[in-house]
């Protein structure tokens, strides 16, 4: 087990290093002088040159990468000159709200998808299953923004019962203090995630239902409900755990879109604005953090599976 963890940590570290190289090179490829972007169109050439020199943007790519890496190793993600704050601070300020939004959506999605998928598997090809399958197919085929717009149209513009915008408050806990304002963003993010998870959960549960041990459990005299809760659920959820780990990039992407559609101040909006402002350090910083989150998510999922699946505990 320890060996497995160490090995996974090792590969994760390599992956993160690779990510830093790729994102750095890609963002560098966006070309142009950061100074010009920051100082504006009417700034003098001297001012731009002075700015670029002061911040090392006139050095070679390799030198820049290594100084960036050096700062990274000290936990310094850089400084956004557009927003006059360190990237660390910007990410820290916004992380709470994003984590709250994405976290609540994820929890909801899992809480809905797990029983839903199992239900569909148990009642496969029933009317209920077919209706749910169709619904999940639609949700699964719907780009996030379209779902968001649909919800806005129905609940905000049509029925007028929910606000079209997320709360603009800076509090991390708006979801609890202003649940009405957060309902649509959470629903949107939950919607697409549920579609993905429940489809997967359904087929995982189907796979497990076909296993002999289910029949054995039935033969012991367990009711279907007990068979599901005591035997099927754990085995059918292990693959879902792995999937959750793997879908973190999707969740972050969905989060980006949801935040920009609903104007929810968080990391996604920060990234999107930075993209429009060419705010290089913020882009780099958040991409890297998102990648690390992904790597960690996968790692965590693997560990959870390893811990809860006795078969993998040998190593």
């Amino acid at each position: 087990m320890t060996r497995f963890v160490l090995r996974r940590l090792g590969t994760s570290a390599i992956v993160v290093l690779g990510v830093s190289v790729i994102t750095f090179i890609m963002l560098h490829g966006m070309s142009g002088s950061p100074g010009r972007a920051i100082l504006g169109v009417q700034a003098s050439a001297e001012a731009v040159a002075a700015f670029d020199h002061e911040h090392g943007y006139d050095q070679s790519l390799v030198v820049q990468y290594f100084s960036y890496l050096g700062r990274l190793l000290h936990g310094d993600l850089g400084h956004s000159y557009k927003l006059n704050q360190s990237v660390n601070a910007l990410l820290a300020e916004n992380a709470g709200r994003t984590a709250m939004l994405a976290g609540v959506a994820l929890l909801l999605a899992v809480a809905i998808a797990m029983p839903l998928g199992v239900y569909q598997a148990v009642k496969r090809n029933s009317i209920g299953d077919n209706v749910l399958t169709t619904l999940t197919f639609i949700a699964y085929s719907m780009p996030v923004f379209l779902l968001a717009m649909l919800l806005i149209q129905v609940f905000a513009l049509g029925l007028g019962i929910l606000p079209a915008q997320a709360s603009q408050s800076s509090s991390t806990f708006v979801i609890f203090t202003e649940p009405r304002a957060m309902l649509l963003p959470v629903l949107t993010l939950t919607g697409i995630t549920v579609a993905l998870y429940s489809r997967y959960q359904r087929s995982a549960a189907l796979d497990q239902l076909a296993q002999d041990y289910i029949r054995v459990a039935r033969a012991k005299g367990l009711s279907m409900r007990l068979v599901l809760t005591r035997h099927l659920l754990r085995n059918a959820c292990l693959p879902l755990v792995t999937l959750i780990g793997m879908t973190i990039p999707l969740l972050l992407a969905g989060n980006l879109v949801v935040e920009s559609v609903f104007n929810y101040p968080g990391l996604g909006l920060l990234f999107f604005n930075a993209l429009n402002n060419q705010d290089y350090p913020v882009l780099l910083g958040y991409t890297l953090v998102a990648s690390i989150l992904t790597v960690l998510g996968n790692l965590l999922a693997d560990l959870v599976v390893a811990v809860s699946d006795p078969r993998t505990q040998r190593a």
Binding site: R124, Q211, D212, Y213, R215, V216, A217, R218, A219, K220, G221, L222, S223, M224, L226, R230, H231, R234, N235, L238, S308, D309, P310, R311
Partner: protein
């Protein structure tokens, strides 16, 4: 000796049970008007070919039919209580409590994420309302009862930590934990090695007696039936064709199917010079069953009456039920058609294996320490003479397949040499090796896996010629047609795909392919173990015939000792990567010197009632880990005769007869002085 409890109270009575499984377009009539009765304390054997509806009968009783499955008519009475149509809640109270079931595959029948203790305790808590502690106590007792040593230590183990035999014991413990009245054992030992099979069946039998249950023993193995069942019902295509006391059935059967089934079951006494009996044709499609007697199409005694009207199951004699218009009397006389034999020319060996070793690293990026490798084959030497058959037997995982792969150069040995047809395979590369392969072909266990599902039979059979660059397209086609004639398949199969054939036909195609290049040696790894008995004998007969015709040399691998006995001139017995005994078939089967050989042979269930179990040769079920095999003699951990010397010193091969040697410090016979 099974107790004969005639006239006990009728516990389970099934009348005119029909079960059908709805499919998308059709319905499979898995069970048709089946009658069965089970008395307290007896074992009823249910026997039949694959697909005859045995499992569906068991599942119907349990009320656990697969999706789409339902009982269309008939009744199932347990102790006078009707089970069909019973509400699910009440059925749950019966399952695991009054009727329990042991399933075929112990590897997949346990929940991989729960400890075995929990799984055994679960029905106890459920049905007896015991507290967690009480249930644990009871589960420990049950684990001890099924022969698991130190149950308290094993209680928290997960299924994957147990060997197949132990898992099946856990399954039995689970089934019996509430002391049910009826136990349904559906092929409880098919997935197990023959040594383990004997132990598990004995255990079931003893427990049945001890707990006073009745047992429905489902199997396709006449040997198992003969030894363990009090009464037998023979099933064919969804219905019972004959039912009688075991000894009566084996000696005085009346149904042609029973007769044929028994005739094609291989025995150790089968004379190698005679061909095997086989049943022509294949069982009917249950989605579209024929009218009349379902066996009529394959029956030698069938008349017009048989094809028009189905015979009812009626008493032929007291206690002997039969469904046949034209009954027969007693078993078929043994076939005496001479099996084709090749003239044995003693020449230089065609294949010789010299101190062959194969160790698999545990895999992965970084090379591991030596200790973590699987010692699959550890120093095996033998040689095979041209035109002869070399048989290789041993328990699962002992390295038979690995050895076979090295012989045909699919795997590279870690050390040692294979010399085939005068060339050292190690030294051959590329073109040379490819040319060499012509003479060295292989047949695989699972023919479906060995035939590319996306190729037509024509392309499959053409492939050897193309790979070797032999002949023009037209020549190839002629050769292919000849091959089909040889294996007895019509020419029109060329346009079909592998999945469109039955198992026996597929194995014929595989054999045709192996023959295509006119090889001198064919290595056959479990060539018939995936096949039903009736088909099995067809394939074995065919192999024999072809051997004689083409002067082939066979290396036949099987865990089925009767197959090896029938096929092989020389037999090697493998244990955990080592060859422990080698000799002529008679040497091994009649004069075995190694305790392991003896226990293997003793474990074979003979398809004749009243067989005596050799209890003194019980060798336990746990095969040591191939990662670190025992020191000295590898068999010592299971050997009834083991002494300290066995752990210290590795036994050398001692000669007992000419060409017969075994590696044992304390052999069953005195070795010859060399």
């Amino acid at each position: 000796m099974p107790a004969r409890t005639e006239g006990g109270t009728q516990l389970l009575a099934i009348e005119r049970l029909s079960t059908s499984i709805r499919m998308r377009k059709s319905a499979v009539e898995a069970v048709t008007r089946l009658d069965l009765s089970l008395r307290a304390g007896e074992t009823l054997g249910l026997v039949g070919e694959s697909g005859s509806g045995k499992s569906m009968t068991g599942l119907s009783i349990m009320g656990l039919l697969p999706p789409g499955g339902h009982i269309t008519e008939g009744s199932i009475k347990l102790d006078g209580r009707e089970l069909t149509g019973l509400p699910e809640r009440e059925y749950q109270r019966i399952r695991g409590n009054e009727i329990a079931m042991v399933f075929q595959d112990p590897m997949t029948s346990l929940n991989p994420t729960k400890t075995i203790g929990e799984q055994v305790a679960e029905p106890i808590r459920l049905h007896t309302g015991a507290s967690q502690k009480q249930a644990r106590e009871r589960a420990l007792d049950m684990l001890a009862l099924v022969g698991i040593a130190r149950p308290a230590e094993r209680y928290g183990d997960y299924p994957h930590q147990l060997s197949g035999g132990l898992r099946q014991r856990v399954m039995i413990a689970m089934a019996l934990s509430c002391e049910p009245k009826v136990l349904i054992a559906d092929e409880p030992t098919t997935a197990l090695d023959v040594t383990v099979q004997a132990q598990v069946l004995r255990l079931l039998h003893d427990l049945k007696d001890r707990l006073g249950m009745a047992m429905l023993l489902i199997t396709h193995d006449m040997g198992v039936i003969a030894r363990w069942a009090d009464r037998v019902s023979v099933m064919y295509a969804g219905g019972i064709v004959e039912s009688a006391r075991t000894d009566e059935l084996f000696t005085g059967m009346r149904h042609p199917y029973t007769q044929a089934l028994l005739a094609c079951t291989p025995r150790l006494t089968q004379r190698r010079e005679h061909t095997l009996y086989s049943i022509p044709g294949a069982p009917p499609d249950l989605a579209d069953p024929p009218a009349g007697c379902r066996f009529a199409a394959r029956c030698a005694h069938a008349t017009d009456h048989c094809t028009s009207e189905a015979p009812p199951l009626a008493p032929a004699r007291p206690g002997h039920l039969l469904a046949c218009w034209n009954p027969v009397e007693g078993p078929l006389a043994p076939v005496t058609d001479p099996a084709a034999t090749s003239d044995k020319t003693s020449a230089d060996p065609v294949v010789s294996v010299d101190d062959l070793v194969k160790e698999y690293g545990a895999g992965g990026f970084v090379p591991r320490r030596q200790a973590r490798s699987v010692k699959a084959v550890s120093g095996v030497s033998f040689s095979v003479l041209p035109g002869q058959t070399f048989g290789l037997v041993g328990e699962s995982g002992c390295g038979k397949s690995t050895l076979a792969k090295m012989i045909v150069a699919l795997e590279k040995p870690s050390s040692g040499d294979v010399t085939a047809l005068g060339g050292k395979l190690n030294e051959l590369r590329g073109r040379g090796l490819r040319r060499h392969r012509r003479n060295l072909q292989m047949m695989f266990q699972d023919p479906l896996d060995a035939l590319d599902p996306r190729m037509r039979v024509g392309a499959i059979l053409r492939e050897p010629f193309e790979a070797q660059g032999i002949g023009t397209a037209a020549e190839q086609l002629t050769a292919i047609k000849e091959l089909l004639d040889e294996v007895g398949l019509p020419h029109n199969v060329l346009e079909r795909y592998p999945h469109e054939f039955s198992g026996g036909q597929r194995q014929r195609i595989a054999l045709a392919r192996a023959l295509a290049l006119n090889p001198r040696v064919i290595v056959a790894d479990e060539p018939v173990s995936a096949l039903d008995v009736s088909v099995r004998s067809q394939v074995l007969n065919l192999m024999k015939r072809l051997q004689a015709k083409h002067a082939l040399t066979y290396i036949v691998i099987s865990h089925d000792l009767t197959v090896v006995r029938y096929m092989a001139d020389t037999v090697g017995v493998m244990y955990l990567g080592k060859l422990v005994e080698i000799g002529s078939a008679d040497d091994i089967y009649l004069r075995g010197a190694h305790p392991y050989t003896a226990s293997l042979i003793a474990a074979i269930p003979e398809p004749a009632p009243g067989g005596q179990a050799a209890d003194d040769l019980d060798i336990g079920s746990e095969l040591p880990s191939p990662y670190d095999p025992p020191s000295g003699c590898r068999f010592r951990t299971r050997c009834p005769r083991a002494q300290t010397r066995c752990a210290e010193e590795e036994p050398a091969l001692l000669t007992f007869d000419p060409g017969h040697s075994a590696a044992c410090h304390f052999p069953l016979r005195e070795p010859q002085n060399v």
